[in-house]
């Protein structure tokens, strides 16, 4: 008898680290994923070109099918198939051995995706064995968050919605961001605003797709956004276009700052038995008073003597900083004309409200944290801040930490942790759905110095990635259509929906989900009676935080579609003062209490620029999510190979013609690839869209050019960031033999 074909459509969501977490409808026929359709999302629905190719990724002939153990040397490409039992038994034994020798913190895991249940199960497991969880945000996305933590007191992973969450912005200002290519939800919001009459201004060294849609394209020198923001603030303050009442009510602007130590003046500084209260200068009474005392309006400018102390309102200090960025100087630093700086400043201050969309691009320099600080400050002094929309889900993460809390190691500290054992010796590493050797800076250091220090490298992936190729064990992880998880939103102007990633098909070959693998390791590591619950119960545990944001969020509702956090009372800002802190005591030790402009480590102004005059940019494109999808033939038809994009102004004197083989190089290394000479890249910059692996290049890789220098400010506040766009190089034609 002929079997009836069974068809079903499963609403799921993508956990890939492209960010938005797109909702997807998985169309399954006879247990096979045949097609992906846009997932229903309130008011919209979306699937990108990459998402549509998922069936090609899921059934890709190169998918890893069974666990393998390395034969021969690391990276030699010789493998032998082993059973799951043998692989996990051996890995657990090695972990225990290494842990006994170097301490339990030497056992480390990194996982890079948005499946929050997988991450929590992993954290619980690592807590129980006192191992180390490597935080992945520092691979380019953590600098801006540092600024949000000090200015807003935020806790989001990638950035806050304070500057974007307006119903009908009159101006959309996009900083170093290409959402038209890389973030559907963000672009939909910008596009809708533009169709509603808003002006769109895009600041970018590249003429991106987003720039092509702009009313004004502001061509900026890479790494100088902070200077532009300060120059704009100078125009705004100079022309009295700032929002005095917002500054007084919601920011630290009126708070007096002591000139002797840079701290806010407190009541206890001047009144014996006084409290920690912030002080302001009352313009009516011409005297100092507590900020919350009902009285005349506080001064925003001027200098005041309080007892023996000279004090100035924080806004006065900002005004003085901004005054150091007059038009000519700002223009010289940023490459933006004085006319555009003025018009932009006036338009930004005069458009109510004006939304600022901050991209990861403008914070991928060594001082990228200050760029977000400056943009937040610009928004603060013009009142372009929305208090709504920064509400996020408070999930029950702690429920997974009953057996202990793991050590946390920022990704950028992995190099030191492996090589010199600081802050603890990472000697074994399990990498899941992450490709650090390909995606983190300074590949040569990674391979030549970090790798030899790892006694064990385990890689769980769907494919033989660059990182997997150097592993001791390779474990086949299933695609996200083959397992269930919860997908948390990332904010930053995208969307705030929590979604269920629902299993649509059975795991292919011998592949397993991350959760299954980790749970299989629990007993093997000698941990008893932990993480025994079925998956659904684990998911319910995660939802049951009791936090008001979670009210009404159930698995049942999530099965039907995306869910927003329940409305709940939130402080405007979770800073020490409860206000927007554009002046922060916390960064005083670094000279960054205000958003000062610091040049990139490697920029046109640095000594290295004589030798290597071009700034290397390595942004995302629509054709790949980091290194994922680079192996999908349908996307390769559209974007076949890596190219070094240079402007003819830079190409011509170097004798480079379109299509020539070139080497892009600096003291750290080189990459060889074809040149693409076109006008869309700022003179003085070279662009190589990221995600390619060494095998895609003629030789080398763009990560041979990047560096892993850590900024202590990022380390003090959040996680050190990879300064991926803070890299100087030069380009030369290569004579083909």
């Amino acid at each position: 008898m002929k079997k009836e074909a069974t068809e079903k459509v499963v609403r799921t969501a993508s956990p890939l680290a492209c960010g938005p977490g797109c909702g997807l409808m998985a169309c399954v026929k006879d247990g096979v994923l045949v097609k992906v359709e846009p997932g229903d999302f309130p008011g919209t629905g979306h699937v990108c070109a990459r998402g549509l190719t998922y069936p090609k990724l899921v059934y890709h002939p190169d998918r890893l099918r069974y666990p393998m153990k390395r034969l021969g040397k690391r990276g030699e490409g010789k493998w032998v198939r082993v059973s799951w039992e043998e692989a996990l038994d051996t890995i657990a034994a090695r972990f225990k051995e290494i842990g006994a020798k170097h301490g339990s913190s030497s056992v480390s895991f990194v996982m890079d995706m948005m499946g929050i249940l997988s991450v929590d199960v992993l954290l619980g497991f690592l807590g129980a064995c006192q191992g180390t969880f490597i935080l992945p945000a520092g691979c380019g996305d953590s600098a801006g968050v540092c600024a949000d933590r000090v200015t807003y007191g935020s806790q989001w992973w990638f950035g806050e919605d304070y500057t974007t969450n307006f119903d009908k912005p009159a101006l959309c200002l996009v900083w170093g961001n290409n959402p038209a290519e890389t973030d559907f939800f963000k672009w939909r919001r910008i596009r809708d605003a533009k169709e509603g009459g808003a002006r769109l201004v895009v600041i970018d060294p590249r003429f991106s797709t987003t720039a092509s849609k702009a009313d004004v394209y502001v061509p900026i020198k890479p790494g100088t956004d902070t200077a532009l923001a300060l120059g704009m603030m100078n125009v705004i303050i100079d022309q009295s276009l700032h929002d005095v009442s917002f500054i007084i009510s919601h920011t630290v602007g009126p708070f007096l700052v002591r000139s002797d130590n840079g701290m806010f003046l407190r009541e206890k500084d001047i009144v014996s038995g006084g409290l920690d209260k912030y002080m302001v200068w009352d313009t009516g009474a011409k005297a100092v008073r507590c900020h919350d005392a009902a009285s005349g309006s506080p001064a925003l400018t001027g200098s005041y003597r309080v007892g023996q102390m000279e004090c100035k309102p924080a806004f006065q200090l900002l005004k003085e900083l901004a005054a150091q960025f007059p038009l000519e100087k700002t223009s010289q630093i940023t490459g933006v004309s004085t006319e555009v700086i003025t018009k932009l400043a006036v338009a930004y201050a005069g458009s109510k409200p004006a939304a600022s969309y901050r991209g990861m691009g403008c914070q991928r320099t060594f001082h990228g944290d200050i760029t977000f600080h400056a943009i937040n400050t610009l928004a603060a002094i013009t009142g372009n801040i929305s208090f709504e929309g920064h509400a996020c889900f408070e999930l029950n993460h702690v429920a997974f930490l009953t057996r202990g809390v793991p050590n946390l190691l920022p990704l950028m500290q992995l190099y030191d942790a492996a090589i010199s054992g600081k802050p603890f010796p990472v000697k074994s590493l399990w990498v899941s759905r992450h490709n650090p050797i390909n995606q983190e800076p300074n590949i040569n250091k990674m391979i030549e110095e970090v790798l030899p220090c790892l006694d064990l490298l385990v890689v769980a992936d769907m494919f033989m990635t660059t990182t997997a190729s150097y592993a001791d064990f390779v474990l086949p992880v299933c695609s996200f259509f083959e397992c269930t998880d919860l997908i948390q939103p990332v904010g930053n102007g995208s969307h705030n929906y929590l979604q269920l990633q629902q299993k649509a098909i059975e795991p292919l070959y011998e592949s397993k989900s991350d959760i299954d693998m980790i749970i299989s390791m629990v007993g093997r590591m000698g941990i008893e009676g932990f993480l025994k619950e079925p998956l659904e119960e684990l998911a319910n545990t995660l939802l049951a935080s009791g936090h008001p944001s979670m009210e009404g969020t159930t698995l049942e509702r999530l099965r039907a579609g995306p869910v927003l956090p329940a409305a709940h009372a939130l402080p405007n800002f979770s800073t020490p003062s409860g206000r927007l802190e554009f002046y922060t005591e916390r960064l005083r030790q670094f000279g960054q209490e205000l958003p000062v402009y610091k040049q990139p480590l490697e920029g046109p102004g640095s000594p290295l620029a004589d030798k290597y005059p071009l700034v290397l940019l390595t942004p995302h494109t629509k054709y790949r999510t980091h290194s994922s999808f680079a192996n999908v033939a349908w996307l390769r038809e559209l974007d076949p190979e890596p190219v070094a994009e240079v402007c003819s102004i830079d190409a011509k004197p170097r004798g480079i013609k379109d299509g020539d083989l070139v080497r892009v190089f600096n003291d750290r290394g080189e990459v060889r690839l074809k040149a693409r000479v076109h006008q869309g890249v700022r003179p003085g910059a070279v662009n190589i869209c990221q995600g390619w692996s060494p095998g895609d290049y003629v030789s080398g890789t763009h990560q041979a050019l990047t560096h892993e220098t850590i900024n202590p400010v990022h380390q003090a506040i959040y996680e050190p960031n990879a300064s991926l766009y803070d890299v100087l190089v030069d380009v030369q034609p290569v004579k083909e033999a």
Binding site: K35, E37, C48, F184, R199, S212, S351, G680
Partner: protein, 202 residues
Amino acid sequence: MKKRYGMVIDLERCTGCRACTVACKIENSMEHCTGIRVETVGGAWPDTPAGEYPELSMGFLPIACMHCERPPCRDACPTQAIYQRPDGAVLIDESLCNDCQECLAACPYDALVYDEDKALVRKCTLCSARLDQGLEPFCSKCCGYGAITFGDMGDPRSIVSKLAARSDAYALKPESKTGPAVIYLPAKASRGFQHGRRVSHR
């Protein structure tokens, strides 16, 4: 009222994301070709602009079969393999196609493709199998930014008819007098810094 299915493509909304291109491939099993390509209106390479830095411009132009009222491909076909359905979709009857490829040359929009895998001429069918199920073509379904709107051009009350009636709506190569059922809306010019509508801040 005579049905005439067609599409309006809003180039202001199109970001060149190529979701339509890939959607077409998967829906129609076009492994190495597609029924809808996206051209870049700009530089020599895809996704590059025209002009000189920083005075640049870049746009995108999705091109599929125009499902013409007077299809030159049909007229050029010696075996009458190409026909038009009553709803307007121009289709190829594969059983009649003799692989002569006259149609490829006849199309002013370069909208037909030769599928090497299947050794057949292929083209956009407006996803006619989906139309028969009451579904829209998969490219318009997957166009997240709403650049592609599908509908009945024969119905003056339809959204596509209203969009196509806009004064700035245009067809490609009007000189070909093919009567295309795919109509374009132009990208908007940059408006400069002039203030947007003022909205009072809450």
